[in-house]
Symmetry: C2
Subunit: 403 residues, 2 copies
């Protein structure tokens, strides 16, 4: 089997998808803030939505439209979350779908919508309505890049990825774009991700593959532990490659692994572009009693502001990592725990390894990509997480977000 | 009944307690770092200890000594946590107790010890041994202030409080000192608190009163959600007032309420002196289904870096508070939720109240003391929490703690 081939594009890499993005004036700073993704034919869809108790209007609408049948387009705005906006927000989300549907000549319920930005302010619908007429004619494969740019908020760079693989000798392509930056934590956050494929996959199989991919991607990243009202991950399959993905077996595995790879790369881009991040951190937990406990320990470590500020300070303050693990609620024995920062074993079976190991770790911490590995010595449970440091800029960005 | 009378001192306000503090050279900056608290007669004791899976050696030792009988002294060092220090750390904690016991002429098991500071470095026992001989002769009532200073780490101010009340016409005094600053979260943190009283109370009653007080004080504060390896709250009663507190009834209530007041004021001082704090925040949750759910929602709000950075930025960004509540895992209906910042109702039954209310809230946020009130409309469960904002200085302090 050939290895999956990375491609330069994102959501428009698979056959039959076009996109575009534009500045509609929703963001005060005049940056692009309205994106449209369109498939030449109706798609099977799968989605994962925020578990926040107050899902924003676009989240509820998209979940309904996804459940009711085939989706063909997604309209996304940044700069305003249309969250906590009451009945008016519901109407505005519906109106967004209507406007896109009318322009594209498809049914309203074939359109999903997504919003991200400030919570609790009415959506400036007239700006969206005003900008849409110039968005439709610009839909193209090349427009994928513009769409990926228009969905960003405090992100510092666009996040897209695409791969091509072979299933039974035929090419299948998956592509995706995402935005993140703040509020990123397992079970989603102000995270929007859109993944497309030209494979033909039934909705049940698609949903199963997406849930599987989530476990190794968007559910394993953390920026600041918050979970937003607006998160969603949408996966659309239009079948344009002519290749059908079965519900199990080798060909399902190829597809599901490729999807995991796309989601994982998008998730890493999100985690590592966390607000104010200066470090790209990969945390491995090994030797937990089971995977659930590994996740619980990882969660405690990646949530710890003390750990994250130490990483920002390039300080191999391993005591904070150990203390965070110890506060996770998982039963642990210090005498069985080891900790590596980069290649340096700072703690081996509970014993500190001294200044020399710390010096090696300190050098590793000066790099951009940081590897932490904590082994618990209790079993075979393991997990990988991606996160970033907590910097002065995180506070600056979030203290002044609305001003 | 007369109202409890506030006193100027701390742990040495109750009869028969003396204390002192000194710079033993444990802290690199030469600040006071060794404190001793001594009672003229043995005390009934009660304690609450960290739930971190890796309790530091002094925590384990103090829990043992407290369980084994009467305690008469507490030796506390700052600058080094003696945590994650293995068998050597156990020996060092025991040696601390021995050194204090020998100098005071009491049994080793009558001494509790506590440490706070950097994790994972060997305790510089020779510095403690060297400084103790000059610490013993300086023990005095006036020395309470010196002890309160010597237990601090990144705290910006001394935390002590004392009250006198009457029980059946006789005066009973309670006093306390605490240190906090980082890692503060419910179920303790790098929190040390020592409370003394000259009431005579049996150990069972003392333990019950302390657990009751914890529920309204140290378990209701949060700085950054971390839980340290070294937390402890110790309560010592030497009976020197001649007043006996019964195990129930009116007089128990007077004592327990006074203890709650002392603990609550210490807890507030800790929360509001959180690392880098610029705001003293009180959060009330009301109308929860029950108290447990109120606590769960409060926890999500006070842990949220997005809420805390908005408070630092004096931004009435109420959407973040609502979103944090919505991510708490408690089932909530937005249409029943109201939120006040100061006197300004920003959200009433799920509906945003607009720019005028926000302007009032923005003015309130410019003050030092911030009141947030979130009503959930689900029942009668309520709780009060104390926290602070997340400032640029929090990151500065924690990125450079060890350097």
């Amino acid at each position: 089997m050939k290895r999956p081939e990375p491609l330069a594009d994102g959501v428009t890499a698979p056959k039959g998808f076009v996109a575009s993005g534009i500045a509609a004036g929703i963001k005060k700073n005049g940056r692009p803030d309205l994106a449209l993704l369109f498939s030449a034919s109706p798609c099977a869809g799968a989605g994962v939505f925020t578990r926040n108790q107050f899902p924003a209007a676009p989240v509820r609408l998209s979940a309904r439209h996804l459940a009711s049948g085939r989706v063909q387009a997604v309209l996304i705005n940044s700069g305003n979350a249309n969250a906590c906006t009451g009945p008016q927000g519901e109407q505005d989300a519906l109106k967004m779908a209507s406007l896109a549907a009318r322009g594209l000549g498809i049914a309203r319920r074939s359109v999903c919508v997504a919003s991200t930005g400030v919570i609790g302010e009415p959506l400036p619908l007239e700006k969206i309505a005003g900008a849409l007429p110039s968005l439709f004619p610009s839909l193209s494969r090349e427009g994928g890049h513009l769409a990926a740019e228009a969905i960003l908020t405090t992100d510092t760079q666009i996040k897209q990825v695409a791969f091509r693989a072979e299933i039974s000798g035929d090419a299948v392509t998956l592509g995706g774009m995402a935005k993140g930056a703040g509020m990123i934590h397992p079970q989603l956050a102000t995270l929007l991700a859109f993944v497309t494929t030209d494979a033909r996959v039934d909705e049940q199989t698609l949903g199963r593959a997406l849930r599987e991919a989530m476990e190794e991607s968007f559910n394993r990243i953390s920026v600041d532990g918050d979970t937003s009202t607006n998160d969603m991950v949408l996966l659309l399959a239009n079948g344009r490659s002519g290749v059908t993905v079965p519900s199990r077996g080798k060909d399902y595995r190829i597809f599901a692994d490729l999807l995991t790879q796309v989601c994982q790369q998008l998730a890493q881009k999100v985690a590592w572009d966390g607000e104010g991040a200066t470090k790209r951190v990969t945390l491995r937990i090994e030797g937990a009693r089971n995977r659930r406990e590994a996740i619980q320990v990882a969660n405690a470590v990646v949530r710890s502001p003390l750990v994250k500020t130490a990483l920002f300070g390039e300080d191999p303050n391993w005591g904070r990592i150990i203390a965070a693990a110890g506060s996770s609620g998982v039963s642990l024995a210090l005498s069985r725990i080891s900790l590596w920062i980069g290649g340096a074993p700072l703690v081996v079976k509970g014993a500190a390894q001294g200044k020399e190991a710390e010096a090696v770790a300190a050098r590793h911490l000066k790099e951009r990509d940081i590897e932490l590995c904590l082994t618990l010595g209790s079993g075979k449970g393991a997990v990988r997480y991606w996160t970033c440091d907590l910097s002065l800029d995180y506070v600056r960005i979030n203290a002044s977000y609305r001003s």
